[in-house]
Subunit: 196 residues, 2 copies
Amino acid sequence: MSREKNETRQKILDSTLKLLEANSGGKEVRMSDIAKDAGISRQAVYLHFPTRADLLIAVTYRLDEIYDSAGRLVKPTNAKTGILRLDAYIEAWFGYLPLIYGVVKAIMDMQDHDEAAKEAFDLRMQHIRNACETTILALQKDGQLQDHYTVETATDVLWTMLSIPVWEQYRFKCGWTAEECINRTKVVAKSVLLSS
Amino acid sequence: MSREKNETRQKILDSTLKLLEANSGGKEVRMSDIAKDAGISRQAVYLHFPTRADLLIAVTYRLDEIYDSAGRLVKPTNAKTGILRLDAYIEAWFGYLPLIYGVVKAIMDMQDHDEAAKEAFDLRMQHIRNACETTILALQKDGQLQDHYTVETATDVLWTMLSIPVWEQYRFKCGWTAEECINRTKVVAKSVLLSS
DNA sequence: CGTGTCAATTGACACCGTGTCAAGTATTAG
DNA sequence: CTAATACTTGACACGGTGTCAATTGACACG
């Protein structure tokens, strides 16, 4: 019973994921598109996910499973020095982002008109901010943090440097490769945050 | 004849502007809201502006008139050194942005589903990019530009630092004041771009 | 005075996508 | 045989954009 239910549910999630990836969060991912792809009726989708926002949010959790997002975040915390940690974190996050970009984009686009989507997204971004703060603290502990910053301001700056719109601009408006986004951001972050 | 036409047209533009400013680009600015505020029928709005995108784009030109956006951009070009120019430009642009933010936001939100809005917006952003490039060239001429950058890459970085989403994040997610956005961006930009 | 033109009005309607509702079908389990 | 569960079908409401057609009112010109 819950067996079959999960099967359809998974099919919906997988189709959504596939379509979002294919369309990079574009508009061609309506509830009806998802249903069609999953080979079920549009209403069946609503049976499992009351709103589009709920579905997209569920997809993010699926994403976490698939790509082991927790594991990725852990690795940088093993770094010995603050600087290594900064590099490792930029690499981990900007390496992960392209994989999940379609979904992220779709949720971002909903933020304005959907409260639930906004909350879910803000929560994720808050996690990123926390990681930034930890990184800043590590730098500070090493005495590497530029002295004119408070921890909070430095965190704000790093967080913004690693924000999705910034990555989007580098990637799609400036035409940088994913690699370049990582490496140049490493350079920029160090110029900004480190003392001499 | 063209007298009266312009009057209504202006009323529409002014109402749109007023509503967008009040709502910071929020959704409470439908064609019907604009019509109501202007004291005319919804269809009259369509008589002057075939689509919502057209109207918003027209509002940006109105904005240019009101705030003399050209004049603002000129000032930084008078700066003697590259560094002064950088400061002046950040001050000019981030000082201007809050004034026009409502409209900018509304157009940004349309980008995904409206080609015309996207083009208009991209064009504006391209102007900003050009200004960034000129600033970078001034720095380079002074021998102040960090040597590991090409002009293009340095321009990309500055342009992204001065992008609207970055300002939004500082302003609304980090809670910085408009002043702080300006001053801290000046500091950050200099750390990133200048050699020692 | 009548006629034409132009701006604006009124009201209806199509389209799209989300979400809701009700009735029906098919499978499975007790 | 019956009851529950998953799903289907088809209709519909809503909100917002954009279209269309018929009408009104003002002003101008001969």
